[in-house]
Each structure stands twice: as C-alpha cells, then as structure tokens.
Symmetry: C2
Subunit: 456 residues, 2 copies
Amino acid sequence: MRTAGDYAQDNAERFRTELHEWLRIPSISTDANYAAECRRAADWVADNLNGIGMEAEVIPTKRHPLVYAEWLGAGPDAKTVLIYGHYDVQPAVKEDGWATEPFEPIEREGKMWGRGTTDDKGQLFAHIKAVESLLKTEGKLPVNVKFIIEGEEESGGENIEKYVHEHPEKLAANVCVISDGSMARVEQPVIVYALRGIVPLEVTVTGPKQDLHSGMFGGSVHNPLQALAEIIARLHKEDGTVAVPGFYDDVRELSEEERTALAKTPYTPEDWQADTGAPEPWGEADFAIHERIGARPTLEINGMAGGYWGNGIKAIVPEKAWAKITCRLVADQDPAKIVQLVKDYIESITPSTVKVTFKSTVTGTAAAQVDMDTPMMQAAIEAYKKGWGAEPVFKREGGSIPIVSDFLGVLKQPVILMGFGLNTDNLHGPNEHLRIDMFHKGINTSVQFLREVAVL
Amino acid sequence: MRTAGDYAQDNAERFRTELHEWLRIPSISTDANYAAECRRAADWVADNLNGIGMEAEVIPTKRHPLVYAEWLGAGPDAKTVLIYGHYDVQPAVKEDGWATEPFEPIEREGKMWGRGTTDDKGQLFAHIKAVESLLKTEGKLPVNVKFIIEGEEESGGENIEKYVHEHPEKLAANVCVISDGSMARVEQPVIVYALRGIVPLEVTVTGPKQDLHSGMFGGSVHNPLQALAEIIARLHKEDGTVAVPGFYDDVRELSEEERTALAKTPYTPEDWQADTGAPEPWGEADFAIHERIGARPTLEINGMAGGYWGNGIKAIVPEKAWAKITCRLVADQDPAKIVQLVKDYIESITPSTVKVTFKSTVTGTAAAQVDMDTPMMQAAIEAYKKGWGAEPVFKREGGSIPIVSDFLGVLKQPVILMGFGLNTDNLHGPNEHLRIDMFHKGINTSVQFLREVAVL
C-alpha cells in the first residue's frame, strides 16, 4: 500500500514549486504599504488548503486577515490537533546584503533561499503538505486537524490575539503545534519549552527647532545625537546588565536543575562565533551564552538615526535623533510595566538641554514557558524519532511567538514548539534560507506527530 | 551724472531675476551625483561675468570647476581687489522641512527663499552686480578687480587650494574680500576677523557579520549601535569639554582684551534661544555663548545611523552603526593632528566586543585669524558706513571658510570678511533665505569698498 511517506517523496519537487509561488508574495506585515500583498498571501494559502481537502476560509480583521481551515472527519471522539503558522514576513530588500532577490526564491547548495523560507512559510507549509500526503493516500487523517494562520506575527499579532479571545471554541483542540523555531544541527532536533516576550519603544530626542549650521551654533547647543548616545550609553551597566531600575524585579530565575539540563546542549562560544561572526561574546557574565539568550531579558537598540548620513559632509547640529528599542522579556515580566520602567528611567536621565518623547504603538508580548509535563510532549518526541530520525532535546529560545501566550493562557492547550529550521537560516537578516532536506523531514515529522497523537 | 547707485536701483528687479536663475541650479558639491549641476552653475556665472564686461573663464579641476574673471583696466599702478565666492550649495530636499522647493527660489515677506540665497550665491552676486553697476555707468572700475569662484566650498575645497598654491601670481592682489558671512541685525554690520577650521571623520562600528535576529542572539552580542553610543558618550565630559586627550593643547587662548571687545556685542541667551529654539544653552561653562562658538573648538556628531528606521519594528541586532563627525577648530590647531587624536582616543575606548574603522576622505581646514592692523580694514569700515549706512563691529565667527587660510598663508593678502546676510538666514538648514534689502545694501557696500581701496 502506498504510504503518506511515499506520496511526499513522489511529490517533493511539486511541493517546493508550490512553496516558491507563496514565497514570491512579499507579505511584509510591518509596513502598511504591503497590506495588499498580505491579503494575497492569505488567499494563496487558503486556496492551497482547500485544494488538498481541508475546508479553509479567509477571516478579515482590522489589519491583515487570518486563515482558518479544518478537517473534522475523525469525529468528535477523536483527538484534535491545532496547527499554527504565519504567512507574514520581515522586510527585505536586496540592498541589505542579499545575494539574490529576497522575493524571488531559488534553490541552490541544497537550500531554498528567500524571505520567508524558514520564517515561517516554509515550516508551516511542511505541515500542510503532511496533511495532503495523509489525505491523498489514506483518504482521511488519524485525528481532527485545524489550521490557524495569521499575518501579523512580525508586527504585533493583535488580531489573532483578539480572535483567540473571542472564538476559543472554534480553536478548541487537545494540543497546538507550532513550527516557527530552529535547531543548531540537523542531527539534533529540539523542542522549545520557553520563549522570550518582546515589547517595543521608540525614543526621540529633540534639541534645536531645526538643523543648525554647526559652525554658527556648534559648541552652544546640546547635539541631540550626542544626547541620545549619552542616554543609550546609560541603559546598560559595564557588566552587561540593563541599568533600568526594577528591570529584573519580576524575572523568573533559572533553577539549578534547569541549568544542568540546558547545559547538556550548550551553545558554545565557537558555535556562537560561527553564527554571529562578532569578535567575542558580550553580556551578563554570570550566565552562559545559551542562558543569556534563553533565560535573560534584554534591551536592544534595533535602529538609530539622526542628522545626515548621505554622501559627503553636512556640517549640522541636527534637530533630532531617534532610536528604536525592543526589550526581550522572560517569564514573569509584564510588557507594559517594563516599557513604563524604561520610559521613567530615560526621562530621569535626560538633561534639560534636550527634550525626549516616546512612541509605543504596538502592544508587547509576555514571555511563555510551556508545561513539559504532558503526554503530548511524548508524542512529539516519538514523531521526531520516527519522522526526523533523531531524538529531540529540550531548550529555551530567545525569540518571541506572541500567540504562544494566548494558546497557553486562553485556550488552555499544551503547545508543542516543533522547529524545522536551523538557527543559522538568517531569519530576519539577508539571505534567509531553509535546507531542502529539513523541509522534507518536517513533512515526515508532521505526518508522524498526527499518528502519535491519535494513539495516545 | 548717473551713478552706480542709481543704476543698481534702476536694475534691482532684473538683478534678482538673474540671481533666481542661478539659484535654480542645484549645484550640490557634497554629492557626486550633482557634478553636472555644479558645472552648469559655473558656466552660468562665467557667462554673467562676461556679460557685464569682465573677462571670465571656467577652469576645469579634478572635481568641480573654478571660475576666474578679471578686469585690469585700472593699470599696473592701481590697486587690485580679489573677490572670492562659491557657487556650490549644501544638499536640500523639500522633505527636510522646507515650506517651498529649495531650488525654486521665490520672493515673499521681503526675502528671497531658496538654497544658496545667502550661502553663497546671493552674497557673491551682490559683488558682481556692484562691478556691473560701476562699469555700466563709469565705463571703468576704480581699481583692478579679479574674481575667483569655486564649487567645493561645502565639500573640502581641495581644488581651489591647489590652484592658489600653483597660481599665486594670477591671484595676486592687495586685498581679498569674501562675503560668505552674516550679522545678527541688519543695523549692525560686522567684520569677522577669526574663523574656525573644520575637519571631518567617519566612524563605523561593526559587530556581527550581518543583521541578527534579536531574539536568537540578543543578550550575547554587543549591539553596534549601543557600542557606538557608548563611544560617543565618552567623547565629551560632563562639563561640555571634549574628552579627547590633547584636544585643547594647541588652542590659542582668548586674551582678556579680546574678551572685553567681543563682549560689546554679546550673543545673549535670549538671542540664542530665538535662533536655535533649543531648550537651553549647553557647552563649556567657562565661556560665554559667543566665545563657545567663536573661540572654542568642538566635536560634533553631524549624523548617525544603523539598523532599521523604517515603518514598524525590525527586531534585529544590527551588523554595524556609523557616525559622521566634524571638529570645528580654532587657531592654532592642526586638522591632521586633531583627527589623529580623535582616532587614537576612540580606538583606546573601543571594547574588544566590536571593531571600529575610520574614513577620512576630505582634508581639513585650519582656523584663520585675520590681521586687523591694516588700512584695508579702514576701507571696509568706510564702505559699510557709506554703502550700508552703519559702522561695523568686529567679531569672531564659528563657521569655516577653507580658502581664508590659503589667502592668508599663500597669497599673503589681508582678507576682509564682509558679510551681507543674517545669521538667522538658515544657511545649511531648511528655508534658507536672504533679505532683499540686504542684497541691495551689499551691492552698494561693494561699490563703496572698491572706491575706498582706490584712494588708500
């Protein structure tokens, strides 16, 4: 009898050709100019889901639409798996350092290259093709399956949050699986049980009423770029800790047992060096690199600008300077409280020679720690062993998946973070990619997971 | 008999219409993309000079051409006046905050608005129209007159420097007059006897090999924007002085007599406030505001950038961050030595977690202090009294006119800095302008100066 695995193998190339079509849609959710492209990406995946035998719908929201799909043929007594993913991507232009056009995916060196290949279209598509492979060979799935796919993961995700709160019954399931993560080596899959949260803040420092001639006024005006630099320099202490008073007050500290477990798969300085290319590690000396990333909050300057940075010289004292900041949070820090602490501190250290203002348009996301004490975790371990060919380890991850907090808190579902990418795939940077073999292992692992859940 | 003054009055409107035509050419010398526009601006002024009876030529250089013109009809025994100006302008786009297009000059509220109106096309053009007014009414000039007009004043001026060194005999004169400055009030003209120099430096801080996901790596990588901010914050001390060791070693200190003379026309905090719009003055507490600007060196951040500053959020640790710095210098600081001191200091405070590199493509300009003990200064005082209608005071200015050092040092000519603008004309900023009455007073003062020099 022809298995789902056979089918996936026979159709491997066609699966990827379909994915390339989806990747070509620049569904950048952070930039309102790309709203129509987000809509196109939502329609595309809904069509694909309908085509494989799911019942899919595009659900309008105040910003980018959601896509929901279901196959409930296993019946009310069978288990239900909710699969989450997102069709939106980070901004990308070739000038950022891409070797090829970010929205013209190509395959070479055993990888698919393009924005969204790993974050998250490629990983999500592995589940869709797993479901197709089962339906086309067995005519049914071993469990009920629901997909919920959003278009705002890279930009706040407030509409799926709203939807989850308003429609918990529609998304009811025994487990949620999310593939939006990564592992260090293909031979060693990981299951992530903790994620950091994130909260953004923009700071603007203004001085003179307009750009001034630096000869005519320089020496008498506090330069806003200098003032902003002086403020930013005081946001961290020499030891790498964040200097904002109260910043660490609510941090859930690592237990010794947890530190020991995490130390089994450390992130070595050598691995770190290869991944980052930075001269040497930086950060809190009391914590290992993987702990700094997985278990400690940060305050990061994502962008800063002011004055003139075109060709040549423009001898000015600029009118203003601004910085985009995000804080990564760990359990049990409250995003709103952290933003307030940062604002209060910046106000307290801003000299009277300049003015400071803040913009904080996007709601933050709290960190999430997933309960490891569930049979669903055993199903995931078995799925990796049979579908991927290796037993996974457990780890914490430094990124944020806003929806995990909601699935945990509102839907009361265990959430399995089942990554199919590598953490060197350059998600968010130029030359994002996904290994082709990992895409196909992902399909097999997803098929296996549905089977394991069915027999629990 | 019809005087030059009558002629200038009768032709006032036509003079300004011609100037508008010149102002429409965006001769931005700092940006190589505008090289052709610089050439057009040079051709335009050469044509205008030929049209009024001068013999003008466009002299190619390795970058933007020079324009030279002469009328030597007063004979070898008569005095010779060299008039210097520049046809190049600072960059300007409407989005910077201009009320009207910067290269579509208009007249309203008694002012001409547009890039270059005061710096320096408008001021230089007053001299050209003074010469025209004399030639068209008297058929000759009271002295020999030479014009030397460059196109790189805003971007280094290395080619006029070369030309001055190579052709001192061609530019030989008894005095050089430069109108590229300004006064606080129209009723109180000033003669500037000291100018600051300037020297630029670009600093780039690099960390990781590319932009990194701030979740996956944040907390373990020294953020280049943060590192650059930390470096910049250490370039000044809390008291507003520059922290670079040796920075002040060669500074020619103000004498008590000079401080007393300068205090006669102080730059009050109220004037400063009205001009800058900044919350309150900043800088070296031991010096008055006009001293900080005129007599003290600075280290200014003209621009800084790194990471993402578009719409929305991009949660990255950026690959690099860079800052454009200029130091304003006073006599007797050496530009090359100052750049080296700043580089050495920055290198010494850069942590091993990031790398720092420098770019310093443009040669600096030393400060210039002009000898006040010359009869030419008396001629200038008389010219203002008769042509402008008020007796000038003497002051120091914070800006830089690179060529002054060369005229002083190589040509051994006294240099008279005879400003026709206001220091609120927004040169280098948006909405640059020149009062129409000051343009015409400038023409009269220039006519008078040539007459005063003739009778010395």
